[in-house]
Amino acid sequence: MSDVSRRQRLLAHPWILGLAGLLLVLLLWSAITATGLVDGLFLPSPAAVFAAAQAQASTGILGRDLLASVSRVFSGFALSAAVALPLGIAMGSNRAICQLLEPLIGLIRYMPAPAFIPLLIIYFGLDELPKVMLIFLGTVFFNTLMIMDAVKFVPHELVETALTLGGSRAQVLRSVITPCIAPQVLDTYRINMASAWNLVIVAELVAANEGLGKRISLAQRFLRTDEIFVGLIVIGLIGLLIDLGFRLLMRRACAWAH
């Protein structure tokens, strides 16, 4: 094999260029901080950020923050997913339910979820519940509408075939519609999980004792830009991991759709 073709094959791997882009930014970042052109207060060096991360990890703060944020995201989003699935299927398969709820949901979903924080604090206090509810409120309507759309796009022939094979309406829902929309449902969850992450940070900026968002707002108070960077990078990495997890789950569970 010639060098040229080997290089082409290497470049053809989907991750290579992506990694190169990442490295480029890291390199640029190191170079800028090394020249000392920018005050370290505004842009800490990669080494300083890494050191801050290590310090947080060794004291256990990072672990506690991660656990707090991740468990909020997961409980809020699990609640949202569990409500949106039956609701979306009901709206997608029943015209009356759809006509009843679609305008209402269409209205509420344009209200920015963070604007609900004051209300949620009045209703639920300052514990975990208002944060979980914020994530729930901020994602449930998008989840529902996207699942409804997936149901509406189930080919009629698949439903009608089941009916002519003697299937009941309930059997059509269980054996045709649910498996048919499974890939879109997973994709919906994957996409809306990103909003859940946004919302948990917003909630923690407003009121929390621990969590990645809380750490960032504390770091701001003490001008610890290195810790802000740690928070941002960790949030990004967790988001990426969750995204990859959903993709893997989809590839495993819905191999037929690929």
């Binding site: 022939e157 009916l163 002519t164 048919c180």
Partner: protein, 256 residues
Amino acid sequence: MELRVDSVSKSFGQGSARKLVLDNISFTIRSGEFVALVGSSGSGKSTVMRLVAGLDRPSSGAIHLDGQPVRGPGSDRGMVFQKYSLYPWLTTAQNVAFGMRLQRLPAAEVRERTAYFLEVVGLADAARRLPRELSGGMQQRVAIARALAAAPKLLLLDEPFGALDLQIRESMQEFLHALWRRTGLTALLITHDIEEALLLAQQVHILAPRPGRIVRSVAVDLPAGERAPLRLQPPFLALREDLASCLRGLDSALSP
């Protein structure tokens, strides 16, 4: 088994937008018969099929199966659609078993009948494959096996080979004819292809378009066996040409 379609008309839309799609259609299918409805687009032939399947209701007239009025879809009328009708997440065998599962047949019987019908359509080797791994012709054979496995009294075929290449289409016609001879099924075929109707059916009804109505009915008496040689025989060609000119006449009567 007897299917009676009595003076069935169907309109879509309301008020001034109301459009008559089928006008006073009547025909009968008895046990073991293979009947074809032939028409161009706009003849409402698929609507006839949906009415018989119970997926739509006639505006007037009645459809009876063994004296019972058709009120909705049911497993006594199995349907094969033109395309997209296999469940893409199920294997070939699971697709064939699908109707029997819905009817809650015992697992052992489902297994046995699935194996039998896969054998009948010549796809025993493809039992574990997903639909996307099958050719168009194979997919339609799976759809036919799935419909038959649910033990319908009447098999409804809505342009079943319409999406297939010509060569595959011809081999599927041979297959369907042999299947009909072997299993004694009762079938209603919808097609726009006169040759296909003549090769497969004993009774062919020609539908005129806008509104759809039966303008001619022909009894076909071709020898059993392979279909390919029949295509070139003079009596067959004469009949085909006769019906083709009838269809052409219907179309030209419409154009200004």
